[in-house]
Amino acid sequence: MRIRLDADRCQGHGRCYVLAPDLFDADDYGHCVLLVDEVPAGREDDARTGVENCPEQALSLEG
């Protein structure tokens, strides 16, 4: 499972990195930075939580 970020859509709501701080981080502007490409085994639920809480649909999962 991979996480994809559409950086143009991210507006810095900050939901992903608050809910799953070891998968997502913030840059200086509070916008999302992916900490992993491939979701580590067993962390699928956290990845889903980060992705699905984004109000801008800037994040998605593949695979």
């Binding site: 859509r9 507006q11 810095g12 709501h13 900050g14 939901r15 990195y17 608050v18 913030a26 200086d28 502007y29 509070g30 916008h31 939580t49 699905e52 809480n53 984004c54 109000p55 801008e56 649909q57």
Partner: protein, 393 residues
């Protein structure tokens, strides 16, 4: 009165904020994707349409005509659209980024606790007057390095713009104009003082921020400060009122929050969604558009109904009830798109700390019996929220 009759009333937006049950009104409004309030504005009621509009700032513009509150120049960054908007958010976003805001937790906790000290032992308070009103303003003064003695002055400036006396926009205009002059004058004086005696606070950081090697002008800084007062103070008061209004009437939810601190962040997101203290955001059309067969012309005003979008079950089943542990909860209470609330991370720190410290000290509380809660117009706060509780140390 049927839906359309009711919608002809110019007080509609007022009603959505002050309704006892805005969810029921939103449900009624969602029966149509677009409502045309004759000669005044259009309403978008569905989540998909509100989201799409928030993401198209060139079409649904947030230009100076969208918000007219006595300001003589555009509010920065709200009344500026891309591409110029980008410059201001590049300066302001880092200053309001979560990592800076989270660092304020200790200081906010002190302010929260000293506010609670004023009434804890008495076993009663008007949560609105005694807590929800002073807290955000006190935090703001501290953040900006302004004297705490100016609290009443700031509250008067905020109310003079957001809640001026008078029944119509026309009646309210003179108060707004006078208050706006006071706000500009206050910050002009402050900027002058700061240049003589530099400080280290948010205002100081704004004064020295640069984009492409260029600092903000004094006018730009004034226009930012003006927006801070009208966007950053009342909205946190509104949200605190909404949250504690809900918890004081829903003892199961209150116990869930008081019994487990870890519920608080999620409870805040859920009650932001459910109450939507900012029930609508205004836009002005940059070009002609048509939604669901309704033609709308360039220059016309559109209200994006955040509250209605946040309880639209079309793509988000279950959002017609409260679940303090809701996941996912991608609500739009802070808006969305390029104008996403700049202060959202500060608001969250204030709300989180207020909820935590309050429930540590006053886990049990209820409405004073016989109270009928009345919500305010425009932005959803309470006129009064009288609470009683076992006296606390």
């Amino acid at each position: 009165m049927d839906v359309e009759d009711e919608l002809q009333s110019p007080s509609l937006m007022v009603d959505l904020a002050s309704a006892d049950d805005p969810r029921a009104m939103s449900e009624m409004l969602r029966q149509q994707r677009v409502h045309n309030i004759e000669g005044m504005f259009h309403l978008l009621t569905h989540r998909q349409d509100v989201e799409a509009a928030l993401r198209r700032p060139a079409v649904f513009t947030s230009g100076p005509e969208a918000v007219q509150l006595g300001n003589i120049r555009p509010l920065i960054p709200l009344s500026v659209d891309p591409p110029k908007h980008v410059k201001y958010r590049r300066i302001l976003d880092p200053l309001f980024a979560p990592r800076h805001m989270t660092a304020l937790e200790g200081e906010v906790a002190e302010l929260v606790n000293s506010t609670i000290d004023n009434f804890a032992a008495s076993g009663t308070c008007d949560f609105h007057e005694d807590f929800a009103v002073p807290l955000p303003c006190t935090v703001f003064l501290r953040l900006m390095g302004l004297p705490l003695e100016d609290l009443d002055l700031f509250l008067a400036m905020k109310d003079g713009i957001i809640r001026p006396s008078g029944a119509t926009m026309e009646d309210q205009a003179p108060t707004r104009k006078k208050t706006a002059e006071n706000i500009y004058a206050y910050f002009e004086k402050t900027l002058e003082q700061r240049r003589r005696a530099p400080t280290e606070d948010l205002l100081a950081r704004i004064m020295v921020s640069e984009v492409d090697g260029v600092r903000l002008t004094d006018e730009e800084i004034l226009d930012i400060c003006f927006l801070f007062i009208i966007a950053g103070l009342d909205t946190v008061t509104d949200t605190l009122d909404c949250i504690f209004g809900h918890l004081s009437q829903n003892p199961d939810h209150r116990r869930q929050v008081a019994g487990d601190e870890s519920v608080i962040p999620s409870a805040i997101e859920e009650l932001l969604r459910w109450e939507s203290p900012v029930p609508a955001v205004p836009r002005v059309l940059g070009e002609d558009v048509e939604i669901d067969g309704c033609p709308m012309k360039a220059g016309e005003h559109v209200m994006l109904l955040i509250g209605a979008a946040n309880t639209d079950t079309t793509d988000h089943p279950g959002v017609d009830s409260v679940d303090l542990m809701r996941n996912p909860n991608p609500h739009l209470a802070f808006g969305g798109g390029v104008h996403r609330c700049l202060g959202s991370h500060l608001a969250r720190v204030e709300l989180r700390v207020a909820m935590r410290e309050w429930h540590k000290r006053i886990p049990e509380y209820e409405l004073v019996p016989g109270t009928v809660l009345e919500y305010t117009e425009g932005l959803r706060s309470l006129h009064h929220l009288p609470l009683q509780f076992p006296p606390a140390p």
